[in-house]
Amino acid sequence: MKKNIILSGVGGQGILTIAATIGTAALSEGLQLKQAEVHGMSQRGGDVQSHLRLSSDPIASDLIPEGKADLIISVEPLESLRYINMLNKETGWLISSMNPVKNIADYPPLESVLDEIWKLPRYVTIDAEREAKDVGTVKAANIVVLGAASLFLELKYESLQAAIEQMFRKKGQDMVDLNLKALKAGRDYAQQRT
């Protein structure tokens, strides 16, 4: 098994939480893992990305080679496009939230951004904030996106659920339940559309 995942979004959107959840799940299944992060700019509203590599065999490069990303998981639509040069043309999927973070003066019209995503051969775009609000809080939008992406991770759904439980245990059972619901909401949505 080999899975190259690029995570992207804007600083503060919980990308590293997604990475940690996938990482925890992957480790529980005995997979090897490398995860390259970008630090420092995350508090300052800049774009952030992470290269997350899962494999049943030892992994060499921390960085994913260009054109070899199996998945782009993004919590922001403009940021989802920033790394499509990394996405595998034949098999790669792009999973992205449709909710823009307009913290730059020249943010392009949302329709033009979504149009570019919809030109790709394999994608799932989701109104993550609405799904998250439905289960309890907009802050769980990142977990909703993870749920949508879960169909393509080749990890057991139970592993992801166990990872959520581990990640949010300290915040109380309510938080765990909420995030499990968010995960499911994203997954159900993606299931219906693919």
Partner: protein, 542 residues
């Protein structure tokens, strides 16, 4: 023990603790900051009393570590590549004094300058100091080599340089820990004169260091950290240093490289191993995540031998970090491509947070300079450097830590009056105080804006050595009381603050304006922690 998922930085930190360090000394600097933070937050460090407070700068950190090593205990010093420039005087001379307790210097380089002013290669410093250098390729090696570094340091009585780059420092993978070593006992050097670098003694020490060079090379041959892997295709041989090795094997199915390969992780490089490769192939490709140091060494001045390919002949771009695609191209492999980036993509550069005090400071400064010609604001390294970008565009220089004040002095000497320096509180105690002293002794017509947000912000909000001390230091250096102004940078104070700036700009002597308001990120974290402790106390009481 089960595997831990650790950043390269964290692996080094864990390795250092397991190696039995008694102290870590550092100043924050990307991508090295996480090493000290990991140790500061670890239970193991508390249990074993490993000291880990931030130092005022990399030079004091380096010297303090030398002191601990003098007393027989193991010390780790951490810094980013340019931090080694600040520590260089102490670093180079620590090789001459030698090490008593193990002394390891970690330099984290930043090829492609993701968050730095340059991409200098710290391996040069290892060569310059004539000490062994280690360069791990992955997180497990980072852990293992940190422990080995301390052993090596004590074996040869010299400091050891450990070098990583951003892509290892900030990448996570599984690491297995080995046994934990006890800390050393307090034990002074057997020769109580070896640290006195008076010429007569220094010459003796220096010759001793020179005498060890062949031993270092022999160790690099025998340690296993430099590995010769033969291959059937002799049309090419590859030398891959540190993390570059990963990019090499990434390009081949099952990581089987057809060419003979030498993986380099320890310097000085083993001559026989490299000669063996050289003799058996038609040309050599050198892969280094940094400057073409080994490449240049092999080419020599006259380039009369076999073809050595790398950055210098354009096989690999001269600047910037390596990645699998660049290395694949250098190997002549068809590399894959993804989709074309759409035109709609706009940049999303980092900017000052909403509500940052620096914005208010610079808005006031900008307005006060309305009637002066542009180009007179010299700045420094920190979050406030982002004011160079739109919409503020407040500053005209950022060169190295502390240069804001001293450049302002020089520009004023040249006739640019008034000159303004904009510096943060942590940068000020790092290396601004001496500049301010020069300004006072020079009676320079400069206005120094110290932006005191009471933290080391850009690197993540570490404790600032300046906390509570800025005003006294400024006074102590001799700035006249009338021209030390303290303002609170807030939107509602804007007009009042502009007046302060305008008055001090007119003054033909040293003015210091201290703009004080806590960093909102640090404040938020502090409040959160306060609330959490309060909740815990309430739970205990109920």
């Amino acid at each position: 023990m089960p595997k831990l998922l650790l950043l390269g930085d964290e692996a080094i930190a864990q390795g250092a603790m397991d190696a039995g360090i008694s102290g870590v000394y550092a100043y924050p600097g990307t991508p090295s900051t996480e090493i000290t933070e990991y140790i500061q937050q670890s239970k193991q460090a508390k249990e074993f009393n490993i000291r880990s407070l931030w130092s005022a700068n990399e030079k004091t950190a380096m010297e303090t570590a030398i002191g601990m090593s003098y007393a027989g205990k193991r010390a780790l010093v951490c810094m980013k590549h340019v931090g080694l420039n600040v520590a260089a005087d102490a670093f180079i001379n620590a090789a001459i004094t030698g090490a008593n307790g193990g002394l390891v210097i970690l330099a984290a380089d930043d090829p492609s300058m993701h968050s730095s002013q340059n991409e200098q290669d710290s391996r040069f410093y290892g060569k310059f100091a004539q000490i062994p250098t280690l360069e791990p390729a992955n997180q497990q090696e980072a852990y293992d080599m940190t422990i080995y570094a301390f052993k090596l340091s004590e074996k040869f009585g010299v400091p050891v340089l450990l070098r990583v780059t951003t892509r290892l420092a900030h990448s996570r993978a599984g690491v297995e820990r080995i046994t934990i070593h006890k800390q050393n006992e307090l034990r002074l050097p057997s020769d109580l004169k070896q640290y006195i670098l008076l010429p007569a003694i220094a010459r003796k020490q220096y010759n001793a260091l020179l005498g060890k060079q062949e031993l270092f090379r022999q160790e690099a041959t025998e340690s296993g950290n430099n590995e010769y892997m033969d291959g059937p295709d002799k049309s090419k041989g590859v030398i891959a240093c540190g993390i570059a090795y990963n990019y090499l094997v990434e390009n081949y199915e099952n990581q089987k490289v057809p060419f003979p390969v030498i993986k380099i992780s320890q310097y000085p490089v083993p001559k026989e191993m490299i000669n063996k490769l050289y003799e058996s192939v038609s040309e050599v490709l050198v892969l280094e995540d940094g400057y073409p140091i080994i490449e240049e060494l092999l080419i020599g001045l006259l380039n009369k031998g076999k073809s050595i390919r790398g950055r210098l002949d354009g096989t690999i771009p001269r600047a910037g970090e390596l990645n699998p695609k660049i290395v694949g191209k250098a190997l002549g492999i068809e590399t894959s491509e993804g989709f074309e980036l759409p035109k709609v993509l706009t940049g999303r550069p980092p900017k000052l947070c909403e509500g940052c005090s620096h914005t208010d400071s610079f808005l006031a400064l900008n307005q006060s300079l309305d009637n002066y010609s542009k180009g007179r604001v010299f700045s420094d390294i920190g979050c406030y450097t982002l004011s160079a970008l739109k919409p503020l565009e407040s500053i005209n220089s950022c060169v190295d830590m502390g240069a804001s004040i001293t450049m302002a002095i020089g520009a004023a000497d040249a006739g640019l009056v008034p000159s303004v320096a904009a510096i943060g509180d942590s940068t000020f105690t790092h290396s601004g105080i001496t500049g301010l002293l020069d300004a006072v002794n020079n009676n320079s017509p400069i206005t120094v804006l110290i932006m005191d947000n009471s933290t080391t912000g850009m690197t993540g909000g570490q404790d600032s050595s300046a906390l509570g001390k800025v005003d006294d230091i400024v006074r102590g250096v001799g700035v006249s009381e009338d021209h030390i102004r303290v303002i609170k940078p807030l939107r509602r104070n804007h007009d009042e603050n502009v007046k302060v700036f305008e008055e001090e700009l007119k003054y033909e002597g040293v003015s210091v304006i201290i703009a004080r308001r806590e960093c909102i990120q640090t404040q938020a974290r502090r409040m959160k922690e306060k609330a959490r402790l309060k909740r815990e106390a309430e739970e205990v009481n109920s």
